[in-house]
């Protein structure tokens, strides 16, 4: 369904921004988070070898 310019302007800012974020805006933040999670899990997993 097409959204008119007026309707788009009335849309809450959060909704507009969410759509943009999901596309590409937050790509590097997400990658960095994945790095943090993977690093943490690597440390946790490495310790099993010595237990």
């Amino acid at each position: 369904m097409e959204v008119s310019a007026e309707a788009a302007a009335r849309r809450p800012e959060s909704a507009v921004s969410t759509a943009g974020n999901d596309a590409s805006e937050n790509r590097w933040e997400r990658r960095l988070c994945v790095f943090g999670v993977a690093g943490t899990l690597s440390a946790a997993t490495s310790l099993f070898w010595y237990a």
Partner: protein, 436 residues
Amino acid sequence: MQGIVPATIHEYYTWTGRWGAAGLNYLLTSSFDLVGFYTPLLLIIPFLLATSVFLLLRAARIGATRTRSFALAAAAAALYWNGMPDPGETVYWLTGSVDNLTGFVLSFALLAALLRFDVSGTVSRAAASAALFLLAFLATGFHEVFGLVLCAALASGSLQQWLARRSNRWIWTGCLAAALIGFLVVYAAPGNEVRRADFPFAGNLEVTVRLALGQSFSSIFMWISDIRLLTGTLLLLMLMPRDLTASNDGIGLPARNVVITGITGIAAVGGAFTAVSWAIGMSMAPRTLNGIYLVFLVGLFWVIVLSARCFPAAAAISAARPAARWALTVLFVGGMMLSGNTRKAIVDLSVAAPVYRAAMQERWRSLAAASDRGERAAVGRSLPARPKCFIKYFELSEDPEFWVNWGVAHYFGLASVKLSAAEAEPNIPADSGSPP
């Protein structure tokens, strides 16, 4: 006492009502060479826990795609491990893992199945219901406190099902009944009374109130103010808002569901602190605190998800400035990589853990060699390092009558084992030229 079932029954009458945990412990420790397979055995239950979290996320339609649900499950596992009070007692000790995590694995699997229960046909529906009742009963057989938490979760789910007049309300209620029966089986075990003799302040109301209030307030304050959890939660709402509201059937949930879930979470965490304080009358073991921390995390996450579904516009805070998102991301990643248990693990991995492993292997070889030579008594050398991430007790003492010494001696077929005094140099029977 020989055999897994007889030993489990014996333990039920003499030590603990956790029949599921006792049975699984006996099964694993009698079926595998613990020295050769300890690492893979240790990995099984944490892996199953992460898998059950993934299944629960998929069942609740949290995560727009499988990959995103997987990423969320991985992030949840990392956050839990990093923030848990003492990973040594729950993650890197097989018995601790079986007792304190397996019940959660089964509970999450049960909740996932209940959320997606949709079987047509009378026979298959009856069979599936019976399987779920059995799973609810089994899940409570691993830990009385976490079994009680499962009962609270099922009561909350049943109430929400009944209020919404959902078709699955009877299945939820049946699982609640099965879990309550399972909890009573564990709680009423004669072995619990035997073990209670070790806790002179058990059942003391004044001690219970003091301990429950003190431990719950200090722990919850610490958990809530954890920078990793705070930044992680904000990033979840900023970077993945649509993954929380991916489910069409979730949107438009009545606000009462958020209230019921929130009250259930608070009651479950508060009830767990109170129940443990009542049962032992002293500060709880870190492994129990690890379990309550998991309940806290799950409860908080569930309230956030339901809130996002009830009030999607309010929950989407992705309009924050890019600078704020970057600052939160750096704080989250820095917190995960450089603080909490990750920091301890980095220190352990660089020095203590390799030294500890080598020393334990050397001790094992020495004791086995002493046994092979037909010696009756052996002396173990003190460990040069103890990793902070591993369990703190279960070490030989200088007293050969100490129960750990007794257990080690019997494992190797020796009459006695003791630890050498710090200044007295080894009197270790060695197999490869080490000094006697």
